[in-house]
């Protein structure tokens, strides 16, 4: 029973695909073709860094190529724009985890920075000011290293069962930070997908491949305005 508890718990955004006890799940869920996120510096293309959690990483999808950043890459490719998407999604990551990880990723040049973090904070009921503090710290680090970098904020909401007070406070975090830091804002990343069982996996929170396409559309509407060359 003990393992069962942890097995189930470690599922989901909180701790997706953790090696802890979830033995075979993740080991067997992907047998498709991985499109390697080649990070070798390509001087002809500019880098778009998608920095986020399981939604970016495409948790539960057959392959990372079905996750929304890859869908965005396809759109970019079809328009022949000189941009390359780097998927830096890490399932289960909170804003504080992101703050610890960002330096590692900033070793490579970043031209557009897309921030998709906070959902796990919300699901764990982490105090809102803590999330604000961490997200701000991440943005500060990006700005300090690449002052010319374009910034995009992907807004999140928590489900209504968290209570109106918390949900409203949480929802407000993203527009506030976007305005303060002069970032382009996607008001709600999962707009049209969240709460719709048909577009979500069985866990009810991670979009299916179909859902990810809608998510990519939501992102693309805003992201395209920040790209050069069109």
């Amino acid at each position: 029973m003990v393992p069962k508890i942890l097995v189930v718990f470690f599922l989901g955004v909180l701790f997706a695909a953790c090696g802890g006890n979830k033995k075979q799940e993740a080991a067997t869920d992907g047998n498709g073709s991985a499109k390697p996120t080649d990070t070798a510096v390509d001087f002809h293309k500019k880098n778009i860094l998608f920095f986020g959690n399981s939604l970016t990483a495409g948790y539960g999808l057959d392959d990372v190529s079905q996750a929304f950043p890859s869908v965005v890459q396809n759109k970019i490719d079809s328009l022949k724009l000189p941009y390359k998407v780097i998927n830096a999604g890490n399932s289960g990551e909170t804003s504080s985890g992101g703050n610890g990880r960002i330096d590692w990723l900033l070793k490579q040049p970043v031209d557009v920075f897309v921030l998709e973090l906070g959902a796990n904070d919300g699901l764990r009921g982490i105090p809102i000011k803590e999330t604000v503090k961490n997200l701000q710290a991440i943005v500060d680090k990006v700005k300090a290293k690449y002052p010319a970098c374009k910034l995009v904020m992907l807004g999140m909401q928590v489900p209504p069962n968290m209570g109106a007070d918390y949900a409203n406070g949480f929802k407000g975090v993203f527009p506030q930070l976007a305005a303060k830091n002069n970032m382009a804002l996607v008001p709600f990343l999962l707009d049209g997908v969240g709460g719709n069982p048909a577009l979500n996996q069985a866990d009810g929170i991670h979009p299916t491949a179909e859902g990810a396409k809608i998510v990519a559309d939501n992102v693309w509407k805003v992201l395209k305005t920040t790209l050069d060359g069109r």
């Binding site: 029973m1 003990v2 393992p3 069962k4 508890i5 942890l6 718990f9 909180l14 701790f15 695909a17 953790c18 090696g19 802890g20 006890n21 033995k23 075979q24 993740a26 080991a27 067997t28 992907g30 047998n31 498709g32 073709s33 991985a34 499109k35 390697p36 996120t37 990070t39 990483a57 948790y59 057959d62 990372v64 780097i86 830096a88 890490n90 990551e93 909170t94 504080s96 985890g97 703050n99 610890g100 590692w104 990723l105 699901l123 764990r124 009921g125 982490i126 803590e130 961490n134 909401q157 489900p159 209504p160 069962n161 968290m162 209570g163 109106a164 007070d165 918390y166 969240g194 009810g204």
Partner: protein, 848 residues
């Protein structure tokens, strides 16, 4: 008709001759059957108690749940499943304690109906567990109450509604799942759900439906029928049986163990009855010869004694069954204060029926064995008292009786074990044990015949000669003592193996609190805080996310092409594309064992050679990688070339972090990572104090408190381990009693000789020494053989039936060996005490 009456009269008359002796034989049967009935009945009782316990894990006979709102057409279906039902919505939410203005994440369970049907919502005050549903009340987990310094009567706010705290929640059935461990629980009545405003589109809610059925309903069978519909609706379902399966191996182990005990009880009964009957019939041979002299036909003699023995078997069995039921009913009352669970004793008619039936059938079969040779006893035997020349071999009827006995044992074993294969194995095992013991006995007799020298002192010579001379009891005693020892010792060892497993799985040595999302710069401070609070840092591990980029130079896409079309049985490259959590460290932990290759714990960061890594065996199999294969990992955007240098087996069933892939120290220290810390908190108060301190200093850290969940599991494991200990102790004691009884029936075997020796002038001391030496040898040899067989049997059981590592602590078998040997000697001496303490003439004049 008159003839039949005459046969019965004769059977009766013959039994009158020596009633005390008859009583001795009956007592052996009584003990054998009493042991059997008591063990069976206790087995049933304890099973039921454990099943009742298991039912509280779910709290209902059937629980159906889904994380999607239930549609219009599914609702009538759910309603049709049972009249006694409850509904529950559960979800996480932020709770507000207005008094202290504190908020935190909780697990809300909005309940309607009589759930839990098994067990109770244990609350303070007690009545609140049921009465809170009557108003705008809430039951609040003890941890929360302590954290916010709240008292019963205060209020909590969930969504738009303020509830009055009606009680503190201490324990709730069906709460062993995930939800309760993520956040502390708050129960509210379902009717206020609407008002809270928490159930809206997009809310993540688990909808549960609980059903209770009349006792005796086969829920598993019912659910099997419902399965297609349940699956179509995408409903999860759980029954008490399925929960038991998921709870782990413990229930299965218990079932197997009780079956083993039942089987041993059966054989103890057999030993008790068979050894009594065997000796009894042998003693009757001279009487039979006399009857033949007086004109009785061989058939008459046969039937007379068959009637008599089956009669004795029946009386003994009924008395034994009564004694067994008496013990079953009295013992729990006597032990009431020590029992961790309430045992409701129910008179078990199946147990009694089986006991009496077994007693009679065994008496019949084991009487047949010597009685068929009665047919060949000629009247002349009366005058030539040479018993040994009654040739038992080469009678085809004997083989018929043997096969009947084997058939009988298989049948009853099947009744106990419920598996044909299992009962065959057990029967063959017993047969082998029987053969080994008989061989040992024969070998002893043969050796003694050769070894004994006339130059030895008379006492030693006489004692050893007793082992092989005519009228010896070597085979019968070695077999019965040996078998009893074997049963007792097997129980000892298997019990130890099982309870050890329970201790390992129990949480008393394991962590019950997990802190995660600890950032690298926080890890030292968190560990320090933990120690400051007097808590152990049981594990502290870094966790890093990565993906596999290439295996032996091939990406997943290429690998996929290569392995298609896949031949059956070929290892595929599954689990390639997904995310992977890995760690780095310099040593193995206790749950790991390297099965192939060599563990490398440290590398030079400056080295450019591929990094040596260790992979878990199942994962390696899934990936289709072997020692020496090259894997490239994408660690957060940085590719790292590695080589598999070791493959590990990992025990996953512990509360600790385990990993499929482990890097050595020296390369990943700078990679993005978070840390997990495992500790053990001794009490709720300590847990609350620690959680508060952590949250205050490190608001980003999430804490899972497994205390409540593990305590439910622990109390269950305690009970299972208690049942196992109790049943083995009880069976061991009855086994010893049966053993005493079967040695005791050899009382009359040596009487005549002892009296003769006494008349010839032997002192008490001399006769005592002769008897003691004989019994010492018999006891030692049979106990030793029994113990050795038991070790072999336990190894087989552990390896093939329980599938557990075989461990034997030699102390138990050693003590058993000593005590059974001395027990045999003591009984042997007691057997002859009556003769030794009285003058020879007095003994001679009595009818011995």
């Amino acid at each position: 008709m008159a003839k039949i009456f005459w046969l019965f009269t004769m059977a009766w008359r013959d039994s009158r001759k020596n009633r005390p002796r008859l009583m001795l034989f009956i007592s052996s049967i009584v003990f054998g059957i009493a042991a059997l009935v008591a063990i069976y009945s206790f087995g049933y009782d304890l099973r039921r108690s454990i099943d009742d316990q298991a039912a509280t894990l779910v709290g209902a006979d059937l629980a159906i749940s889904t994380n999607k709102p239930v549609g219009q057409n599914a609702m009538p279906f759910l309603d049709s499943l049972g009249a006694t039902r409850s509904r529950e919505l559960s979800f996480v939410s932020m709770v507000l304690f207005p008094k202290s203005n504190g908020t935190r994440l909780v697990q809300v369970r909005a309940l309607q109906g009589g759930f839990p049907y098994y067990g109770d919502l244990e609350t303070t005050p007690v009545a609140a567990g049921r009465s809170f549903l009557g108003g705008r009340n809430a039951l609040v987990d003890n941890t929360l109450m302590l954290q916010f310094n709240a008292a019963v009567g205060d209020s909590v706010k969930l969504g738009q509604v303020t509830f009055k705290i009606a009680g503190i929640l201490n324990k709730a059935p069906g709460q062993t799942g995930v939800a309760s461990s993520v956040a502390p629980v708050v129960f509210i009545p379902l009717q206020y759900m609407e008002q809270t405003g928490l159930a809206k589109k997009g809310s993540r809610i688990e909808y549960s439906f609980y059903y209770k059925y009349a006792a005796g309903t086969d829920v598993t069978k019912m659910v099997d029928k419902l399965k297609p519909r349940l699956e179509k609706e995408d409903f999860n379902y759980e029954t008490v049986d399925s929960r038991k399966e998921n709870t782990g191996r413990f229930f299965n182990d218990l079932t197997r163990f009780l079956a083993l005990v039942g089987f041993i009880a059966l054989l103890l009964g057999c030993v008790g009855v068979a050894s009594a009957i065997n000796v009894y019939v042998r003693e009757k041979i001279s009487s039979i010869a006399i009857m033949r002299c007086l004109g009785a036909t061989a058939l008459d003699a046969f039937v007379i004694y068959l009637i008599q023995i089956v009669g004795i078997g029946f009386i003994g069995s009924v008395l034994g069954a009564e004694l067994g039921s008496f013990i079953q009913n009295v013992l729990p009352v006597v032990l009431k204060d020590f029992l961790p669970l309430t045992i409701n004793t129910v008179i078990s008619w199946p147990a009694i029926g089986q006991g009496v039936l077994i007693g009679v059938v065994i008496s019949f079969l084991f009487a047949l064995l010597p009685l068929i040779s009665i047919r060949k006893i000629s009247p002349l035997f009366t005058f030539r008292l040479s018993f040994e020349s009654v040739n038992f071999a080469a009678d085809p009827l004997r083989w018929l009786v043997y096969s009947l006995i084997v058939f009988f044992i298989i049948t009853f074993a099947y009744l106990q074990l419920g598996s044909i294969l299992g009962s065959l194995f057990f029967t063959v095992g017993i047969f082998v044990a029987f053969l080994v013991l008989t061989l040992v006995a024969k070998l002893l007799m043969y050796t003694m015949r050769i070894v004994v020298r006339t130059t030895w002192g008379y006492l030693v010579r006489q004692a050893f000669a007793n082992l092989y001379r005519p009228n010896n009891q070597t085979i019968i005693l070695i077999v019965s003592i040996g078998l009893s020892t074997m049963f007792i010792c097997t129980l000892f060892i298997v019990k130890d193996i099982l309870t050890e497993q329970l201790v390992v799985s129990g949480s008393s040595t394991q962590s019950n609190m997990v802190l995660f999302d600890i950032q690298t710069q926080q890890q030292d401070a968190v560990a320090q805080l933990t120690r400051q609070q007097g808590l152990p840092v049981m594990q502290q591990v870094p966790i890093i996310g990565a993906r596999i980029e290439e295996i032996n130079g091939k990406t997943a896409e290429q690998a996929k092409k290569d392995t298609l079309p896949q031949r059956p049985g070929e290892r595929g490259r599954r689990g390639f594309g997904g995310e992977l959590r890995l760690t780095y460290r310099d040593s193995l932990v206790s749950s790991e064992k390297v099965t192939e290759g060599k563990w490398v714990g440290l590398v030079d960061p400056a080295s450019t050679a591929p990094i040596p890594i260790s992979i878990e065996d199942h994962y390696a199999n899934n990936l289709g990688v072997k020692l020496g294969d090259h894997i490239t990992f994408n660690v957060q955007g940085t590719n790292m070339a590695t080589v598999v240098t070791s493959i590990r087996s990992v025990e996953w069933n512990r509360v600790q972090t385990n990993f499929r892939v482990i890097f050595p120290k020296g390369v990943l220290e700078q990679a993005p990572q978070f840390h997990v810390l495992l500790t053990r908190v001794p009490s709720t108060a300590a847990s609350v104090k620690f959680q508060q301190a952590v949250v205050r200093q490190f608001p980003n850290i999430s804490i899972i408190d497994l205390g409540l969940v593990l305590s439910v599991l622990d109390s269950l494991l305690d009970k299972i381990s208690y049942v196992i200990n109790f049943m083995s102790a009880f069976s061991i004691v009855t086994g010893i009693i049966v053993l005493i009884a079967s040695v005791r029936i050899s009382k009359y075997q040596r009487i005549q000789e002892s009296v003769l020796l006494r008349t010839l002038g032997a002192t008490r001391r001399q006769i005592g020494t002769i008897n003691a030496l004989e019994y010492f040898f018999l006891g030692l040899l049979s106990a030793l053989t029994g113990v050795l067989i038991a070790i072999a049997v336990s190894w087989l059981l552990a390896t093939y039936s329980f599938k557990l590592p075989f461990v034997v602590h030699l102390a138990a078998p050693g003590i058993l060996l000593g005590s059974i040997t001395s027990l045999t000697v003591v009984i042997g001496l007691l057997n002859s005490r009556g003769i030794l303490n009285r003058p020879p003439l007095e003994v001679l004049r009595r009818d011995v």
